[in-house]
């Protein structure tokens, strides 16, 4: 397959034909190289992981479901190493090219999946989202992406990172296809989805976005407000989001080290410097900090649940700015990283579903507007995205292909 965006793993020959009949017949998809395909080694974006693991013995259930529904899996996509990254830069395999923002990072860690979708190499793609890894590349690449309710889809036969955050998600160019995949994977129908009656514009989240991004998303927010009828601008939390991030980082870092630490210790694998730095930062929080973070998370969930009645959606910027330039120094990217994951940690810490809509652009660079609802309300988010698209044209900046 032609791959002008370095979206696909050079080493993987994993392909699966779709079933002859089913609701997804005729569609193609790619899977991030964290998903197991029986008979193939799952590489996880790191050549030492690839070299030191045997072929998978079973195919990830989500991949199998899609194939059984008729979609063809046409390749594995590049990812940040062991899903530890938010910008899509990979020191071993190179950074996938952002088809919608040349010279800019695609976002990660589901970088190849987003590039393959945005570049129209596939109809949709599977990713994973632990700290923003579907939502961020969706925003940067100008496509749709959903992180469903945490725990709703089993994270099975997929390389884990931090289980209390790990979530399977997917990316597409239209809300229609995003919803069709949801129908297969979550077993939901958007026909009988509840309709929100209140939109909360998250002031503390928008405060983190750059002014140009806020301005770019304003028309879509106005449209949503008209569609839903009632809008409230307010802060989501009395605690600064920077503190949310601190707790998320402690929890995610510890879990990631629990997942990978022994393997790293045993094999001394090669990582891009920043990935090693990330892992090492993750080991710094002590048990007391971990306990505090756990308690904070439980309370944050309670507080957000109070806000999120069944008829409420929150809207927030998916990312605080469009895709940064690729190839910048680590120190620059680290500064860019902090506000990005401050926004994504809201759904991460609360396990709520979040859907990113390609709702605006800043000087031609895409930025996403996110919809967030209470746990389990994935259908409401998808139905809202469909309505916003068809009635208001929100998100209708994608290629137009596969509106089906």
């Amino acid at each position: 397959m032609r791959d002008p965006f370095n979206a696909f793993c050079p080493h993987s020959t994993a392909r699966l034909e779709g079933a002859k009949s089913g609701p997804l017949v005729g569609l193609t998809f790619a899977a991030k190289d964290l998903f197991d395909i029986a008979g193939h080694v799952t590489g996880g974006g790191n050549p030492d992981w690839l070299a030191l693991h045997p072929p998978a013995t079973k195919t990830a259930p989500v991949v199998q479901k899609l194939v059984d529904a008729g979609a063809a899996m046409v390749g594995k996509t590049n990812t940040d190493e062991l899903s530890r990254g938010i910008f899509g830069e990979n020191a071993h395999y190179g950074t996938p090219i952002n088809p919608k923002a040349p010279g800019r990072v695609p976002g990660g860690s589901s970088s190849g999946s987003a590039a393959a979708v945005a570049g129209e190499l596939v109809d949709f793609a599977l990713g994973t989202d632990t700290g923003g890894s579907v939502r961020v590349p969706a925003s940067f690449c100008g496509i749709y992406g959903i992180r469903p309710t945490h725990g709703r889809l089993a994270f099975e036969a997929v390389i884990p990172q931090a289980p209390s955050f790990d979530t399977i998600g997917w990316l597409a160019r239209t809300p229609h296809l995003l919803a069709r995949v949801a129908t297969i994977l979550l077993g939901i129908s958007m026909d009988d989805a509840p309709r929100p009656r209140r939109v909360i514009v998250a002031e503390d989240a928008f405060a983190i976005a750059e002014p140009a991004t806020r301005a770019a998303l304003a028309p879509a927010i106005d449209g949503l407000t008209k569609l839903i009828g009632r809008s409230e601008a307010r802060e989501l939390s009395s605690t600064p989001l920077a503190e949310w991030l601190r707790h998320q980082s402690a929890l995610q870092g510890r879990e990631a080290w629990t997942t990978f630490g022994e393997w790293i210790d045993t094999h001394n694998p090669r990582f891009g410097f920043e990935v090693a730095d990330n892992f090492l930062r993750g080991t710094r929080a002590d048990d007391a900090a971990l306990n505090t973070a756990s308690e904070f998370r439980a309370e944050a969930r309670r507080q957000l649940a109070l806000l999120l009645d069944p008829e409420t959606v929150i809207c927030l910027p998916t990312t605080p700015f469009p895709a940064p330039l690729a190839g910048q120094p680590r120190s620059v990217m680290w500064q860019r990283r902090v506000p990005v994951i401050t926004l994504t940690c809201i759904a991460g810490m609360t396990g709520t579903p979040q859907l990113s809509v390609p709702a605006g652009d800043v000087d031609g660079l895409p930025v996403g507007l996110s919809l967030l609802a209470r746990r389990g309300a994935d259908d409401m988010l998808l139905a809202l995205a469909l309505t916003a698209y068809s009635e208001l044209g929100i998100g209708d900046r994608s290629s137009g292909a596969n509106i089906s």
Copy 2:
């Protein structure tokens, strides 16, 4: 060239013929891949360093001196990445094999140089020693190694690490050849070298060695005592050596980051995990800790200078134990690493010359005894090693080849 010990860099074709006449005609040597050879890229043990640097424009003066003296440079040798390691393990190019201790690490970072000498692939080899990188592989591989007085040889056209510690050194199977190289590089003669009249057996250093290593080195110490005439067992420092190490680590870590930090930040290179960990640990000491460490170093130099009159040598174990098994987890090697560099930091912090003699073995595994003298007394150490060899047979466990 046949390379059963993975001593040589797979990527380097750098070779230099020796001059037709000169005191080293007929001898071959290798140079750690930190030394520049004009027209060739110096790789530094890291493939991203190799890929991102142009060929050297001049040959390192020490290499040139040896070639001008008639020795042939037959290859570049493997090293720990950017000389950041003490055991010789390299995640990219593999760990050189210890010819004298199969299944064990060769020691590093001058790992390939030591393996090439111990495995009789060359007559001698150049290495560098910042925190022990010549002395440790000399001990583990059962050969001679010298770290001359810091600053005596310019560290020129060599990849630096931590300039206030960086020292060019060399390895050989006999004290004779070690001395012949010294004659060329340092311009000294052992004929008129002073003869020590007192040996200090460093109790605080021997306390760090394992009992079996102490026992293995005891006969050589007895021999030296007889040879020199006067022996004193005493502590080198009223400050625990663990504290010396803490200060050395702060200073070396900061200097190494000053040397490499911008390059790392710009290029996000791939490192074995432990190398990245090493660099990151090196950035932790704050300015106050650095100041304290500098002051400690100045005072440690003063104190040791008082002890080291022109007729005194110190003897200490080069390493606290023989070469550890290769391929052990990082956490195990980290524990092994600490006592090793606690011993080597004595010369490191004081800039004194140290010569390691292959003076014993533990269950067939070599361990070195080190001689240390005041700054500038390189000739006294070399002359003493020659006398100990010829009169007492100390160090005469090497192959016997090239006693010339």
